[in-house]
């Protein structure tokens, strides 16, 4: 009886896990790496700048930045000083004792980085549309 009970538990676990796999982790995929990361490499500094670029409308505490940019907090603390010294980020306000930061869009270096990112994204889109056109042409010629 004990053996059968254990077997039932195991099968239930398998069923539950498969459901989680089907509806939880498999079909709802995480977003792919951005064009900026694909171009400059998957490094902590690049990931931080990447997140700061597209969320430049909002300000975040450092812990949130680390979580959202998928960077370890200790790594972020090492990099953060140089970012502040170079004026790439600026303090906006203090909320509940925590300092909030956002990217400094008045800095010409940041403006150029944003511009570069936009050019890269438009190029990627343009390249993709050209490939789509080529596929359509090939399909039309086959028919």
């Amino acid at each position: 009886m004990g053996f059968l009970f254990e077997m039932n538990l195991i099968t239930e676990n398998i069923i539950n896990n498969s459901k989680k796999y089907k509806y939880g982790s498999c079909l709802i995929k995480d977003m792919e790496n951005s064009v900026f990361i694909r171009t400059f490499g998957n490094y902590p500094l690049v990931r931080i700048i990447d997140f700061l670029i597209y969320s430049r409308d909002f300000d975040y505490p450092i812990t949130e930045l680390a979580k959202n940019a998928n960077v370890n907090f200790q790594t972020l603390k090492k990099i953060w000083k140089s970012l502040e010294d170079n004026g790439l980020v600026k303090k906006t306000r203090i909320l509940g004792g925590a300092q909030l930061f956002k990217i400094n869009t008045e800095n010409p270096v940041v403006q150029k980085i944003i511009e570069l990112n936009n050019v890269l994204c438009w190029k990627a889109i343009d390249g993709k549309s050209k490939i789509d056109e080529q596929v359509v042409k090939v399909n039309v010629s086959r028919h």
Binding site: E32, I53, D57, F58, N68, T105, E115, S129
Partner: protein, 99 residues
């Protein structure tokens, strides 16, 4: 926070990750990276953007998927400047005929 900021964030995020045309992502992924008190407004902002035809929606068995409309390049660019002090970017250089 203004309504345009959230719409701008959504458009920027989709554009930044190159979700344009046929390449789409779940609506749940758009909430990631937002401050917690704004996450609830994402779906209404997406609905507004779908109404403006800037975002294309694709209903699937595993949830609504969204992507940017490649035919609305100029409207997409407008959202880059909402809530930021970024100067006019070099879209003239890339698409001289369209601008």
């Amino acid at each position: 926070m203004e309504d345009g900021d959230l719409k701008g964030f959504i458009v920027k995020k989709l554009f930044h990750h190159n979700y344009v045309g046929g390449k789409h992502t779940s609506i749940d992924n758009l909430k990631k990276g937002l401050p917690t008190h704004i996450k609830g407004d994402v779906i209404s902002a997406v609905k507004l953007l779908i109404k403006e035809q800037i975002i294309l929606s694709k209903p699937t068995s595993y949830g609504v998927q969204v992507s940017l409309n490649p035919r609305k390049k100029q409207e997409i660019e407008v959202y880059f400047f909402i809530g930021s002090n970024t100067p006019q970017l070099c879209c003239d250089m890339i698409f001289p005929d369209e601008v």
